[in-house]
Symmetry: C2
Subunit: 319 residues, 2 copies
Amino acid sequence: MDDSRPALAIDIGGTKLAAALVEPAGRVLTRAQVPTPRDLDAEQLWRTLDALITDVLDRSGVALAADLAGCGCGCGGPMEWPAGVVSPLNIPAWRGFPLRDRLTDRLGGLPVRVHNDAICMVAAEHWRGAGRGHDNVLGMVVSTGVGGGLVLDGRLIKGASGNAGHIGHVVVDPDTGPLCGCGGRGCAEAIARGPALVTWAQAEGWRPDQKDATAKDLATDGALGHPVGLAAMRRAGRALGIAIASATSLCNLEVVSVGGGLSQAGPLLFDPLEEALRAHARLDFTRQVAVVPAALGQSAGLVGAAALIFAADRYWHGD
Amino acid sequence: MDDSRPALAIDIGGTKLAAALVEPAGRVLTRAQVPTPRDLDAEQLWRTLDALITDVLDRSGVALAADLAGCGCGCGGPMEWPAGVVSPLNIPAWRGFPLRDRLTDRLGGLPVRVHNDAICMVAAEHWRGAGRGHDNVLGMVVSTGVGGGLVLDGRLIKGASGNAGHIGHVVVDPDTGPLCGCGGRGCAEAIARGPALVTWAQAEGWRPDQKDATAKDLATDGALGHPVGLAAMRRAGRALGIAIASATSLCNLEVVSVGGGLSQAGPLLFDPLEEALRAHARLDFTRQVAVVPAALGQSAGLVGAAALIFAADRYWHGD
């Protein structure tokens, strides 16, 4: 047994498919990615992933599965966990797709572990990113949705069905907040997800007729001083700050790492977030929490997938 | 070593001091309690507790500390944990009182473990009460304050400084909610704690001049059909339901046990709680949560204190 063997890490999202070899210490070696294909069926999509894996293994000179410590994979949810039967919301071609079994077959019986991509993100940030050295960390992804994962007392929290970490559905405005995709009202996600911000801003007169306007455009205009862009970022930051305050009281968090596309807006988002958080987190122990940008950026999914192999005692409680 | 030895369990609150012997399976044997003395200094209060311990040990024929498996003690917070140096909000005589050390001396070096009373309550409900058989449980105490404790993935959650479980400071009405004792606005506790309900009801015309009116009076009047009493219980139930919805999304809870004086209001409180919870907990995994009255009643504190000794792997992470 060679303890320096790398893991094959895979990150499957609605935007891109990525694969890489990752060292036991978390460094990403050979890496490949392609945009997530559209309009393919389940098997065609699998062949795209298969080719990506072959590319990474060939380029890094790994001929045998025995040269690998294992394969970790993050994938958009929901999924049956730990069976790894996936139905990613943003990948309609896969409904009930047995991803873990297919990867196990493909890799000659190598240990394969599949988990939610938001779980992989918090595992990465806790293992090698902004949460390193802390035992109580919430990792958030603010993008098309608002997702997250929880590490408490040094271990990834699973919850009743592997769904702990859904910070996006913490309620921040139960009376006057917008309806949420979940069916509730006033969830943090209903306010702070990118598309919701765009909808709100367009109703306020920002680029009202541009169908493909994005939250990134909105943040850019905000940075240039557009009042609706600024107000939209304040709106998102406030909703996230209140949700983080509630999570901090309930879970006695030390660090909250915020990643995802919208986190690129920087102080435009983080300043109002801090203001709302500090207004509501007033107990001695909640004041201690630090909110920081996610440290691993685009690599978080791959590093977290590798953590399922290299730090299984903390991040993998399945079989 | 005799594995059937009982533990000495102690429960220290602002209303009563209780002590008992508890069997390894959780059954409460000999028990004694006294109202918490007022207007005593720290040493006088200690002597009251000392006498209570002597009474329980004498009556049960336990002569030697070696006849006991250990001593578990729940005490109102805050405290330095695991040192057990306590400063209970409702017991002004003890500020920085070294309770764990004093008990250790008193009991001849027997293992002594002291934890927050809300932590003991959730440990009890998870070990032998309403949460038994479930791995993800929030235990709540709704009374003068709104406190709680969290068991996730089968283990008591400590958090950064032993403060996980503060459900009372989950924000449920950030815009128009009342100021909270913590300094924030719209915390569940600011709305649903007994004294806040009384203040609200008196402003609405219920017993406006009765200085010693209690939340119990309010619930009683509500049960008799008084519209302000009913509205107050709805107000509390809704605040608690929203907080529970947020906690369920974040922690993927299975069971929430609700105890404390206000929980005695029954359907008057639980019906609006359920209504608000079900309006906001709409994801498949959050719909699964069950809210139940705490099962152990007045014994919860003692049973939970004993759990610190008999099920230390789950409920005691200190030294």
